[in-house]
Amino acid sequence: MRRILFLALALWLIVPVATAAQTLQDILQTHQEEVLKPGRRSVGVVLDDLVASGLPQALPFLEAWRDREIVQRDSDGLFFRATEDGDALALTDLDTGETVPAAVSDDFTESRPNGGVRRAIGDALVQFQLSDPDITKRRAAVEAIARSMDVSQLSPLEGSIDTEEDPALKAQKTRLVGMLQALFGENTETRVAAIEALSGDLSVDVRAVLNRITATTPKIATEVPEDANVAQILTVGEDITQEEAYARLVAAELAAPLITKAAVRDALLANIVDGSVGGITVDKLDTDAARALAYDALALDGLVAQRVKDTEKVEALAAHTFYLDYTEPDSVVTDAASKAIRAIETNVALSQTADLALDALSLASIYFLAAIGLAITFGVMGVINMAHGEFIMMGAYTGYVIQLFIPDYTIAILVALPVAFAVTFGAGVTMERLVIRHLYHRPLETLLATFGISIALQQLAKNIFGTQARPLTSPEWLDGALVFNDVIAISYIRIAIFVLALLFLALILYVLKRTRLGLEVRAVTQNPGMAASMGINPDKINMLTFGLGSGIAGIAGVAIGLYAKVTSEMGADYIVQSFMTVVVGGVGNVWGTLAGASLIGFLQKGIEWLNPSNTLAAQTYMILFIILFIQFRPKGIVALKGRAAAD
């Protein structure tokens, strides 16, 4: 087959000049007999000639032929494509594609290729598609091959590689040939070579190919046959439970089935005679022991099958060997494939760790963004603001509203960030002036008052925007993900949030450490009375600090809204985590918040990795961990020392 194909290819390259005047009809006329009554063997000649001709009409002809739409006119022996049109036939000229006047079907003989011939035609079709000038058709053909992964596709695919112009598609074809060779290569050497070439690839389809090679079937034998390609001999009790092993014996009809409780029950039910079974009255049969007695009595009478004794069970198990047998008979190939799988698995595990770390980093930056505003109000001012989550929500809704007015998402986001800051800054300052100012010496009551504001704001948002989630759409350039390999990928939004978190870290550090405002904030934090006597207005500073913290919450809201949905309850989802972040990190310290966010982010992802099906459990365990953590470092990771640490 391959030789023919190469020949065909060579012909196709050389012949065109010579056959330029040839039409499809000419070729068909030279092979009249084979076209009309094609056989599995004879069809090859026609196909080779068709492929060699390089005629564009050959492709639709082959499709029509495969679909049994080719007819021959009895009068002059010409071939047409025909579709039934009532009693008559609608005819199409094969070369020009023009419609020929309809005719009566009696004047024509149909070509009816059988299944084998149609398969051969299909292969030739694939080859045509693989070399089609239209790249989309070529892609479709390659994808179709990747889906079906059939042995017949190997040679056409291989043949089409050299002529492939598109480098990406060429690489894809080469890769696919590699996979097909691993599966169906001619001899052990080619397969092993192909498998080894695959071992650097982490993608799912390669792993599927390798798994297909190393697929096993469980088998039972008294003696393992010598020619078997055994993957693993199963030890009963370790690799396989006794129950399972015995069930396999039963399934292979090598042992008598165990009598289950349900079977006992059914047997007893079937043998009730005059209100008693096996000499025991029915009303006493309400325990398993009594039922067992009755059953054994029935078995003695030969009415039901004997119960399998434990010793019999053990003997049956001992008499047989349970093993996994490779479906692939060649042990060299399976060894190579298992080696490749191990290599890939190690690689995948490493990549997954890296991917997990990226995920954790992005979660940490989200927590950081959500908590950094709180770190300022709670950490620096000692004010506990339960409405912080609602400020995050306000920021997100601000972004949503702005997107309603500005259709360009890029501009909308750029506008939304400062506006969200302004809105929540205003809200924060108002709240500080009206409520918190009066409660500086009663921190627990601040908690409750701000909680009151929190439920009011949440309900207000619900009344205004409704309960369903509102979208905050990210600009197009944030769509998609940065892909490192088949396992490691991170979406651009998460990268953007990470960058935003870094920016804010820098900004806040700058404001607190390098500006006049920061100096005054630190002074008021350490000793308000002394700061006031130095000409600083603590009232004003408190107000500005609170505004700053709230404003940052607003910006965090826009960022969080981009990757999660905007709802009135989104703030409440973050508030406890944010407090945890601040407390774990160490109050009154921006670096502490960073440490806390990282710890919580990595921890949560780590626990999720251990128990991937259950994110709720991950959160539960994380909170428990934090509660324990606080026991050992009550002041957090980065604890303030000296006088600043005094409450």
Partner: protein
């Protein structure tokens, strides 16, 4: 000369007297006596309110007297509910299952019965196995013990960990809130063994009393709640009035000073925290058979914060204040959200209280915190002062 306990606390007598009159009044007007002035569902609401008053009193002791703003007491309340709910659900399902299996040609084995019950109860979460925590569900006595033991032990361990490392103030509040959140999230899981999101239901049907009408059952629970509230009130009034009460209040006002005086502050706090948690659990065990259903949403952190809101509005540091706050706010809340309050038409906008009640509550809560730190209970001070 030391005055007697009652003389020291005139409010105890007043409270019990009013509670007794209220209880008898409601009973006389209920469907049981045939007067039908108060519907069974409203009797249940009142009974539930009494339970809320009880947990509010416990909250007041731990917060108003001891200064620990626990945001976890509603979790203990919920645990109590779950503990009793397990027995109610198990016993009732068992009754139904046994009845349905009577006609079988073979009498069922205990294992078969248990399998069918498991299937009935855990079918909704795709399981039929009994989790370990249901081991005692068949025994009323043991589950009643659980009502007390589980919240008590949880509070003991948590409190010991927290107080030992001197977590105080808002940190403790956040920590208790985290505990509540963790518990709620845990219960939300389907494999938590407590039917996840579905919670336990059908708790209003008391096993063994299928023939008794709900009207009677509601009155019985109403009385039980009232008695529990009275006992709880007396118990806590006794605790906070003696020498121990002084120490507890001292801890609230200045923890360091009490410690320097030689008191083991942690033990006192732990005692208060654990005792109030147990009372909260008992209140929950009385509440949920009247509510009929319990699910993890009830335990969510917000419920515990509402508890603090009731106590704050009622007036901290006085037991009757907490009870009044809980009754007032929860009844008002169900009046507003139940559509009882008339909508206000502003011409350009119609205020529907089902939507706006929470906004009103939130802001009025801010106002109370700012301007009336003594809450509703503070009004009584004004009365007393005028008389004297």
């Amino acid at each position: 000369m030391r005055k007697s306990f009652v003389a020291q606390n005139p409010s105890v007598l007043w409270f019990i007297a009013i509670l007794a009159i209220f209880t008898i009044g409601v009973t006389l007007l209920s469907e049981v006596t045939g007067v039908n002035m108060i519907s069974t569902s409203f009797v249940k609401t009142l009974g539930k309110t009494l339970c809320l008053c009880l947990v509010a009193i416990a909250m007041d002791v731990v917060w108003g007297y001891c200064g620990i703003l626990s945001l976890g007491h509603f979790a203990f309340f919920g645990i109590g509910g779950y503990a009793i709910g397990m027995w109610l659900m198990y016993a009732r399902t068992e009754g139904i299952v046994v009845e349905s299996l009577v006609g079988q040609p073979l009498p069922p084995t205990p294992q078969e019965i248990s399998d069918v019950i498991g299937n009935q109860i855990f079918g909704v979460v795709g399981s039929s196995e009994f989790p370990v925590i249901w081991s005692f569900a068949d025994s009323l006595f043991l589950q009643l013990l659980m009502v007390v033991l589980v919240p008590g032990l949880l509070a003991l361990v948590f409190g010991w960990l927290a107080f030992r490392s001197r977590v105080t103030g808002v940190y403790l509040s956040i920590l208790t809130q985290a505990m509540t959140l963790a518990l709620a999230l845990y219960l939300f899981q389907n494999d938590s063994g407590l039917r996840g999101n579905n919670g336990l239901s059908g708790l209003q049907n008391i096993p063994g009393f299928e023939d008794v009408s709900q009207a009677t059952i509601s009155i019985v629970f109403f009385w039980a709640s009232a008695v529990a509230l009275a006992l709880g009130y007396v118990f806590f009034a006794w605790i906070v009035s003696g020498k121990m009460g002084s120490v507890i209040k001292g801890i609230r006002d200045n923890e360091a000073r009490v410690r320097f005086l030689g008191y083991h502050v942690e033990s006192y706090k732990l005692f208060v925290f654990t005792t109030t948690a147990i009372v909260a659990g008992i209140a929950g065990a009385l509440y949920y058979p009247q509510a009929g259903i319990i699910n993890p949403g009830e335990i969510a952190p917000i419920a515990s914060i509402y508890l603090a809101v009731w106590v704050a509005i009622g007036g901290r540091g006085r037991l009757y204040g907490a009870a009044i706050g809980a009754a007032f706010v929860s009844l008002l809340s169900s009046w507003f959200t139940g559509g009882g309050a008339p909508n206000v038409n502003l011409g350009f906008y119609e205020i529907q209280w089902t939507d706006w009640w929470l906004v009103l509550l939130g802001f009025s809560f801010v106002v109370v915190t700012l301007f009336f730190p003594k809450g509703i209970g503070g009004l009584f001070d004004l009365l007393v002062r005028k008389q004297s």
